[in-house]
């Protein structure tokens, strides 16, 4: 019987309202006991966590692992290890690969590759529509049976409102969240950054906030109409946050994400044509950034998700309009969330754990298999954080295959120092 005893840390577990110095005993991959002064029998591995924070394993419900089809950017194995290095014990892999994950075989492929990866647990998602073409629903029930935890056409919106209505209704047979990338394509049309004075000066085509807002409004109405579970990805606008807040107050079943780059940066980061600040939805104004922060703080945005989007450096080394969207996020997320939200007094540490572990688990039904919690019987996934750590982002040290980040050189506080998955140390920080 394998045992790990994590001793003397500040155990922060909002799933059981806990914030106290305690020991955590994991036996045979599951949490056995949490409490003061736990005695460990002979042969127990002990981890000294004094001065550190012991949290249920962090979960990122929005990552792009690029396999199959983009293995030069990231593979399931490198992505899973990068996740563990960032303190994540589980990730949900987006299905916009090449080919897209729209069949039972492909879901099975991602799941199997994740099991072999030796990093964070990898949960596949499946497409809403075949080939993400927005025309015909995938065999959603089959995808679920193969292991998909949600369906999404992420990277693209579902432009056909009637089809999304069907998805929200159909997915209820499986109590499955339908995750949506909100972008009205006739409004964003060819835009490459936020619409505003910076885009005007740089001569880049802007994407108005309304491109995101009208789709959020539409889909909240469809969620209300159908009673389905809507999960809105990477919210970047102030009106988007307001709409979701109002819908939640009405009882609409919606969860939503705020991304570290959207609560940290504004479109000023694009100047002068910084392709590492090119993403979709784009970085927006200070008012939007502040609204995303406030949304994460009050829980309108339940989940902090990275939208980890690796690209090979050659692909970002282009004129801005020709470069692909996205930045890597797994290894900077905890530091950014702590530095921008906790250290600034916007949220406390338990709220950070709630947004990065408990809520993500619930949003994708992963709480049902014991993730996002340290209650006895739960999965034995633990992230140990050092909130006093001060470090500087050095992309060259990323475990991820790709290094595309706008945060190189940024000083951050707090980092994951050990990531345990099923009681096994999957990653440990060596200074």
């Amino acid at each position: 019987m394998s045992r790990v005893l994590i001793r003397g840390g500040r155990v922060v577990d909002p799933s059981q309202g806990m914030d106290a110095v305690a020991d955590v005993l994991i036996a045979d991959g599951r949490v056995a006991r949490v409490g003061e002064g736990i005695d460990a029998p002979e042969g127990t591995e002990t981890v000294d966590a004094s001065g550190l924070v012991v949290a249920p394993g962090l979960i990122d419900v929005h990552v792009h692992l690029r396999e199959p089809g983009g293995e030069h950017k990231e593979t399931i194995a490198t992505g899973a290890r990068a996740a563990a290095a960032g303190g994540f014990t589980a990730v949900v892999a987006m299905p916009n690969t090449d080919p897209p994950i729209d069949s039972i075989a492909l879901v099975g492929y991602v799941k199997a590759a994740g099991l072999r990866a030796g990093g964070a647990r990898v949960f596949p998602s499946g497409c809403i529509t075949l080939g993400q073409k927005g025309e015909q629903l995938t065999e959603i029930g089959e995808l679920v049976s193969a292991g998909a935890v949600c369906v999404t056409d992420d990277g693209r919106p579902v432009m056909n409102a009637g089809l999304l209505r069907m998805a929200l209704e159909y997915a209820q047979s499986f109590d499955l969240p339908v995750a949506v990338h909100e972008e009205e394509l006739t409004l964003s049309r060819g835009g490459t950054m936020n619409e505003g004075i910076i885009a005007t000066r740089l001569g880049l085509t802007g994407i108005p906030n309304a491109a995101e807002d009208v789709m959020i409004a539409r889909d909240l109405m469809l969620a209300e109409l159908t009673g389905g579970r809507l999960h809105i990805q990477h919210v970047a606008t102030r009106t988007g946050v307001e709409l979701i807040r109002a819908a939640k107050a009405k009882g609409v079943r919606v969860t939503a994400e705020g991304s570290p780059h959207h609560f940290t940066l504004t479109d000023e980061a694009v100047e002068w044509y910084n392709t590492n600040a090119k993403m979709n939805p784009p970085l927006r104004s200070a008012a939007d950034r502040d609204a995303v922060r406030a949304g994460v703080a009050d829980g309108t945005l339940d989940v902090i998700a990275t939208d980890h989007a690796p690209h090979h450096y050659d692909e970002k080394e282009q004129a801005f309009e020709d470069a692909p969207n996205g930045i890597v996020g797994l290894e900077t997320a905890v530091g950014l969330a702590y530095t921008e939200l906790v250290a600034t007094g916007l949220i406390d540490l338990p709220t950070l754990v709630e947004r990065m572990s408990c809520a993500p688990a619930r949003s994708m039904n992963l709480d049902r298999i014991g993730l996002g919690s340290l209650r006895p019987g739960s999965a034995g996934d633990v992230t140990i954080l050092d909130p006093m750590a001060e470090w500087t982002v050095d992309p060259a040290r990323f475990v991820s295959l790709s290094k595309n980040t706008p945060f190189g050189g940024r000083k951050l506080r707090c980092r994951a120092v050990r990531t345990l998955i099923g009681g096994q140390t999957a990653w440990q920080y060596n200074a």
Binding site: G206, Y273, E317, A319, F320
Partner: protein, 318 residues
């Protein structure tokens, strides 16, 4: 920038936005006497002898390319012009590879035209040679802005205090951006006129006023700079039809004649006669369109000369 500034202007000319009034005036003052060279029997001076200039045109533009080629040849530079079609660029060579190759060939100057905003800056940041932006996407076209300034100054004596209205598709126009920055820097009041569908977001934050009627713009302005309307804008839904555009926003003879006082009319060409400008206006007494072409060569000679290390102004605090 990868290299230390080599002249009062710096290493490159990428945009008018970052230039000071003094730098802009230096270019215009340098261009002034160079106009005379084009009047000579033998239109050549040895100023750039031994210098190599590459004209890299990733986007078709016969007028700008020829203007640069004339300027380079009249200064005795060795020149090579590369058009995108038929070059390695079409075969998938990236801008980075192009930059590396140029660097390896020890080129002194590169003139680049590219469909992507920021492409000229991208190149300039990666090579030691001077880079001149000959138009990048919807960003800037600084030598066009400078030749417009020179033409206006020729006719009005000064830019300061003039009211200049840029008419038409400001949204997609690199000419408009260079004009706005250059004119404002030299003290002009700047207006823009056209439907809001063709205006960039927050255009007023650039310090310009918007006219929704061409009649009001003409009444207000001392100078009109009429932009070319790309005919595909109609298909893109930016305007209902070319006919309507001419009816509502066209610079017509009747509208020009209704104006009290002087009016100077510029157009960067090529013109859509009968769309944004009527023929009798383009060929009429207010038009200085052909002088713009002449001034274009002089301005480009001045820029080449100054970037090649031509003197800073007396007492210039470069």
């Amino acid at each position: 920038m990868s290299a230390a500034p080599t002249s009062f202007l710096g290493k490159d000319l990428l945009a008018l936005e970052p230039l000071t009034a003094e730098q802009i005036r230096l270019i215009l003052d340098t261009a002034e006497p160079l106009k005379e060279i084009s009047e000579r029997q033998i239109k050549k001076v040895p100023t750039l002898r031994g210098k190599t200039v590459v004209n890299l045109f990733f986007e078709a533009s016969t007028r700008t390319r020829i203007s640069f080629e004339f300027a380079e040849k009249r200064m005795s530079a060795d020149t090579v012009s590369i058009a995108a079609s038929g070059s390695s660029v079409q075969k998938g060579e990236t801008l980075v590879d192009t930059a590396r190759n140029l660097e390896a060939m020890r080129i002194d100057m590169v003139v680049i035209r590219h469909a992507s905003s920021g492409a000229a800056r991208f190149l300039a940041e990666r090579i030691e040679s001077s880079v001149i932006n000959a138009g990048d996407g919807k960003h800037e076209h600084p030598t066009q802005g400078l030749l417009d300034l020179l033409t206006i100054r020729d006719h009005r004596g000064t830019i300061e205090g003039l009211k200049v209205c840029i008419c038409g598709d400001v949204l997609h126009s690199r000419v408009a951006r260079s004009n706005i920055h250059g004119l404002k820097r030299l003290g002009a009041e700047v207006g823009v006129c056209g439907p809001l569908t063709l205006m960039p977001a927050d255009v007023d934050a650039l310090g310009v006023r918007w006219f929704n009627r061409i009649e009001a713009a003409i009444e207000w302005a001392d100078v009109l700079n009429v932009l070319r309307l790309q005919l595909e804008r109609m298909k893109g839904g930016f305007i209902p039809s070319l006919r309507e555009y001419n009816r509502v926003f066209g610079v017509t003879r009747a509208r020009v004649e209704a104006k009290q006082g002087d009016l100077l009319i510029l157009h960067p060409g090529p013109m859509n006669r009968g769309v944004e400008i009527d023929s009798d206006v383009a060929d009429g007494p207010h038009s200085v369109i052909l002088q713009q072409v002449t001034n274009g060569v002089a301005v480009r000679m001045a820029v080449l000369y100054l970037l090649a290390g031509g003197p800073a102004p007396e007492g210039g605090d470069a």
